[in-house]
């Protein structure tokens, strides 16, 4: 049993708390916004100058001047603030965001990670990834546990170009939740059908097991019917 991309996003949302200020990167991370507990006030930051990104607008509610970092139209949450790039990066690099949730190609056991230089992509682009990576209080990584070809993405040492050194706090994959500590990777949660040994087999670095490591309990689908679990 594995988490879908939405399932990973759902699980990450469970780790966010009222009062958190969070930047969600492209890919799986941005899906987290669909699974936030709407009874709690969690502020989403967008690097292009929003604190308090709201849901996407209906077509007739679109404001052409209001987009989020992914370039899609957005709305503002109650209590939102608009500002310019210098203040936005003050938040990002200055240690003010509670969490940055980012995708990754690789995460190393020392907390290094790589996400900006996509293999096979000849035109490089980095955006605000490196600023978030050095600046957010906690770096959460959302990614599949292994590549399409089955190679581990949690590794002893990154071979892809680094985004930042030694900054990853927690990794959420399709089969596990793993902390990155001073002592390396620590398994905290596994999906049903997996166990520490099977996770280790898919992990390219040493993996210890937390005393309270347990199985995740995830619903089959979200309230809106989006599948959170795959059974392949």
């Amino acid at each position: 049993m594995m988490l879908t991309r939405d399932g990973i996003a759902w699980r990450i949302a469970r780790d966010l708390r009222e009062g958190d200020y969070v930047n969600l990167g492209v890919g799986i991370p941005v899906l987290v916004s669909n699974y936030l507990d709407r009874t709690q006030e969690i502020f989403l930051h967008s690097e292009n100058g929003i604190l308090g990104v709201g849901p996407r607008p209906a077509r007739d509610e679109i404001d052409l001047d209001l987009i989020s970092a992914g370039k899609g139209f957005c709305t503002l949450a109650p209590g939102a603030a608009l500002f310019d790039q210098p203040l936005s990066f003050t938040m990002m690099r200055g240690g003010h965001l509670t969490h940055a949730v980012l995708g990754a190609i690789e995460v190393a056991e020392n907390g290094d990670f790589a996400n900006w230089s996509v293999p096979g992509e000849a035109v490089p682009g980095v955006g605000g990834a490196m600023d978030l990576a050095v600046g957010a209080k906690n770096i959460f990584i959302a990614m599949s546990h292994v590549t399409n070809k089955g190679a581990p993405k949690l590794v002893a040492s990154c071979s892809s170009p680094l985004t930042a050194r030694a900054r990853v706090r927690r990794i959420f994959t399709d089969i596990a939740v793993i902390d990155r500590t001073e002592a390396g990777f620590v398994l905290r949660e596994v999906m049903p059908g997996h166990d520490p040994d099977s996770i280790r087999a898919k992990t390219g670095a040493a993996l210890s097991v937390a005393p309270d490591c347990h199985e995740m309990t995830v619903p089959e689908a979200s309230a809106k019917g989006v599948a959170l679990i795959r059974h392949d």
Partner: protein, 234 residues
């Protein structure tokens, strides 16, 4: 009476010269001075260096300017996959790219505008983008030395402007515009509406007129007011 307004985008960009460096505001289409960029295409200067977050969002304005083959170099953080014109020119080796992390790009422009000689940032330390850069350990952390960026011109997009050059933005239009306004020799703004002096309350002036040399009031570029077939997600 001070009057910084000009009547056409053509007039607004007339002074651009071959080899000029130009800062372009905008993040995606929002806050991008699309009409000034189109006027620049007609104006025809060559060997331009563009400083901008991206390298275009489609085959118009910035994307088209790059496609015209008159851009020698782009200093950007994210020449996105939708920048097809840039992609083609870049892969053909016809255009140089200086890739700068976005926060470093912002801060280098700010340093240029506020008279600093450089700064130390933790961003990109230990990565490939630190190649060739001086490093320094301060208080136990490694930083890169980054130098200021200035330009011959900055093209801005604002919502309201007055004849004094005071500008007000809306939504996420501020992005790079406010800081680029401080860092170029000649600063030109495209505005949606020209208002009387005083209509922008003193507290709501985002870019004070001291930074602005010329402004032109023009309808938005048709491509940037076009709604996508389906509104894309956040």
């Amino acid at each position: 009476m001070i009057d910084k307004t000009v009547q056409s985008c053509r007039e607004a960009v007339a002074q651009v010269f071959d080899g000029a460096s130009i800062m372009l505001g905008g993040f995606g289409n929002v806050g991008m001075p699309a009409q000034l960029i189109e006027a620049l295409r007609e104006q025809g200067s060559r060997d331009l260096t563009l400083i901008s977050n991206g390298a275009g969002t489609g085959p118009y304005a910035l994307g088209a300017l790059v496609g015209d083959g008159r851009v020698r170099k782009v200093i950007a953080s994210f020449p996105s996959p939708s920048a097809a014109e840039f992609r083609t020119r870049y892969l053909a080796g016809e255009i140089e790219l200086e890739l700068v992390p976005q926060g470093t790009l912002v801060e280098r422009i700010r340093a240029g505008g506020c008279g600093l000689g450089g700064f130390y940032t933790p961003t990109a330390a230990g990565t490939d983008l630190a190649a060739g850069k001086e490093t320094r350990v301060i208080d136990g952390q490694e930083y890169l030395l980054e130098l200021p960026l200035k330009a011959d011109f900055a093209f801005l997009k604002a919502h309201w402007g007055d004849r004094l050059g005071n500008l007000m933005y809306r939504g996420t239009m501020r992005n790079f515009n406010t800081v680029m306004a401080t860092a170029a020799i000649t600063v030109v703004a495209e505005v949606d509406r020209l208002v009387a002096v005083g209509e922008i309350p003193p507290d709501a002036v985002h870019t004070p007129g001291i930074f602005v040399d010329r402004l032109v009031c023009v309808e938005r570029h048709p491509k940037v007011v076009e709604l996508p077939r389906e509104a894309s997600a956040t």
